[in-house]
């Protein structure tokens, strides 16, 4: 059986035009390949500008690779339209408020993918949106809300709901946890772990928090200046990092060893 996601030699370069000078090619991402199995979580780490978001965007088809291909279940994504692709791969953006349309209600935005990807009657679509809202810990009441009426945690939940409403196989999250408060961030991480268990979704997420990466990921991909410098299982990279950068990225500054507190209940 073929792997869920195979990334083969994708690269990305931008063309810079500088007046009358011949245009320059700037390479944002050098060719790289990796695989992902069903139900696995891949974390992409790296410094600012190392191309980690570019990978995420290419996989989610928000950007086109300059060369290379991405295969899903052995099928090339290049041949698919946005509509076909979005049934399998969905994306969560970094800034939840900006990725939601400010002038339409949460319900309409969640129904939007259903209108274009299912032939369900309106009633069934609505019911499915209600179910999805419940799944991410919101209420059916939130159907009629506009994004700015929600708190930042709820907005992120709506974004997750939009990502899973089509029951995809892969969800790509681009720095989805950075802007959240600690207590809300823990809730969202819990939600993602739960969803993965329930629906068997594979996650690909970009993050620079070593703690989160260690906690949720199965595999880690380390980027440096557009190159993939290490790729392996989380355990292997933590225990035997080959590159100095890997070590420093995964080393979380634990100034305090804190005893395990079992006091906080759910």
């Amino acid at each position: 059986m073929s792997k869920l996601l195979e990334v083969r030699n994708i690269s990305k370069s931008y063309v810079h035009k500088d007046g009358w000078m011949p245009s320059k090619r700037v390479c944002a991402l050098e060719p790289l390949s990796f695989d992902l199995e069903r139900g696995e979580t891949l974390a992409i780490m790296g410094e600012t500008g190392s191309g980690k978001s570019t990978i995420a965007k290419i996989i989610a088809a928000a950007e086109r690779p300059t060369s290379g291909e991405v295969f899903l279940n052995g099928q090339s994504l290049k041949a698919m339209t946005d509509q076909q692709r979005c049934r399998y791969i969905r994306m969560i953006f970094q800034d939840s408020l900006r990725s939601l349309n400010p002038q339409t209600t949460v319900g309409q935005q969640l129904t939007e993918p259903l209108i274009f990807n299912t032939d369900w009657p309106a009633q069934q679509q609505k019911q499915h949106v209600y179910d999805t809202l419940r799944k991410v810990g919101l209420l059916p009441d939130h159907f009629g809300f506009y994004p700015h009426m929600l708190s930042s945690g709820q907005q992120q939940r709506v974004c997750i709901a939009r990502a899973i409403v089509l029951e995809p196989q892969i969800v790509v999250a681009d720095e989805a946890f950075v802007a959240l408060d600690p207590s809300i961030r823990a809730q969202i991480i819990n939600l993602i772990i739960d969803l993965q268990e329930d629906m068997g979704i594979s996650f690909i997420f970009v993050s620079h928090s070593a703690e989160i990466v260690k906690h949720v990921s199965d595999k880690i991909l380390i980027m440096h200046r557009g190159k993939m410098i290490e790729f392996g299982t989380t355990q292997a990279l933590i225990n035997h990092p080959e590159e100095q950068l890997t070590k420093s990225l995964l080393h979380s500054d634990h100034n305090y060893k804190v005893p395990l507190h079992s006091t906080t209940k759910e």
Partner: protein, 298 residues
């Protein structure tokens, strides 16, 4: 409405309603809104509410001052002109020319301009800029001058004036819509919608359009005040609506001869023109302020 609203909850109004609430907080905007609605109503009902036929001449009451004057008569509320026509009736009937025709011109310009602008905004590269700058050459001539050129060729008539004004307004609409869509389409929520697999028509009408309505409202009010002023100006010069039609600009021009003798003939149509344009401008300005306020708050 949700049925679970048992607890006290402060509900934030929807974005468009927020703008409305902001505007309601501004007394000038409210007054302007009422004045404009009133004049639009007056325009629509003008055949029914004019006390006399605007062209009817009363030979017994020539140059009658307005009713609040000592020598005025309650029969002619705003007095009569030098041919004994009732000024109130003429102002009401004139609103069709001075307000109704500009509204039509703006509407036509908006339909054409918004469609081309939307097309330009949704396409890329050469196609986009061609569409965007297609009618830019018209912008090089001031609207009044363009109207004069067209009238010089085709002769003075209302249709030609409308044609000139519509032509001038179209490129403005194209630019505004193109720029607004261009600003929106690279925002993350549009990318998100694209990844939802929506088609372009849905993207334009349901995703992007709700976010540029406020810009459109602003541009429309601006265009409307330009159009009103231009039609009145051409009427005043005798190139637009021809006498005896009770157009406000034409009435102003006619009153020039008797301005010392009967100032009300000039003041009253002038006041109507002034109030209409002022209320439109104030309204447009407060819409813009309300939008800015909302952006600042969120």
């Amino acid at each position: 409405m949700q049925n679970t609203n048992i607890y006290f909850q402060q509900r934030e109004p929807s974005p468009l309603r927020q703008i409305w609430l902001h505007m309601n907080a501004n007394p000038f905007a409210v007054v302007a809104f009422y004045i404009l609605s009133l004049s639009l109503l007056m325009m629509l009902l003008s055949p029914l509410i004019t006390p006399f036929n605007p062209d009817a001449q009363f030979s017994d009451a020539i140059l009658q001052p307005p009713s609040w004057d000592v020598s005025g008569e309650i029969r002619f509320l705003f007095g009569t002109d030098d041919l004994g026509r009732d000024i109130l009736s003429r102002i009401i009937a004139g609103s069709v020319y001075s307000l109704g025709y500009p509204v039509i011109a703006v509407f036509i310009a908006a339909v054409i301009g918004v469609s081309i602008g939307a097309w330009a905004g949704m396409s890329r590269g050469v196609q986009s800029s061609t569409l965007n700058h297609m009618l830019d050459v018209i912008l090089s001539i001031p609207s009044l001058l363009l109207a004069l050129v067209i009238i010089a060729i085709l002769g003075p008539s209302l249709i030609n004036v409308m044609l000139a004004i519509t032509l001038v307004l179209i490129p403005q609409f194209i630019h505004v819509v193109h720029n607004a869509i261009y600003d929106e389409r690279y925002k993350e929520y549009v990318t998100a919608s694209r990844l939802n697999g929506v088609n372009r028509w849905y993207m334009l009408t349901r995703v992007i359009f709700p976010n540029i309505t406020s810009v459109l409202v602003m541009q429309t009010t601006f265009a409307l005040s330009t159009a009103i002023l231009d039609i009145a100006a051409l009427g005043f010069l005798g190139l637009g609506v021809q006498a005896p039609a009770p157009e406000w600009g034409t009435m102003l021009a006619r009153s020039l001869d008797q301005v010392y003798l009967s100032p009300w003939m000039m003041i009253l149509p002038g006041l109507a023109l002034f109030l209409t344009i002022l209320s439109i401008n104030v309204l447009g300005d407060s819409v813009r302020a309300a939008i800015a306020e909302r952006v600042r708050n969120s």
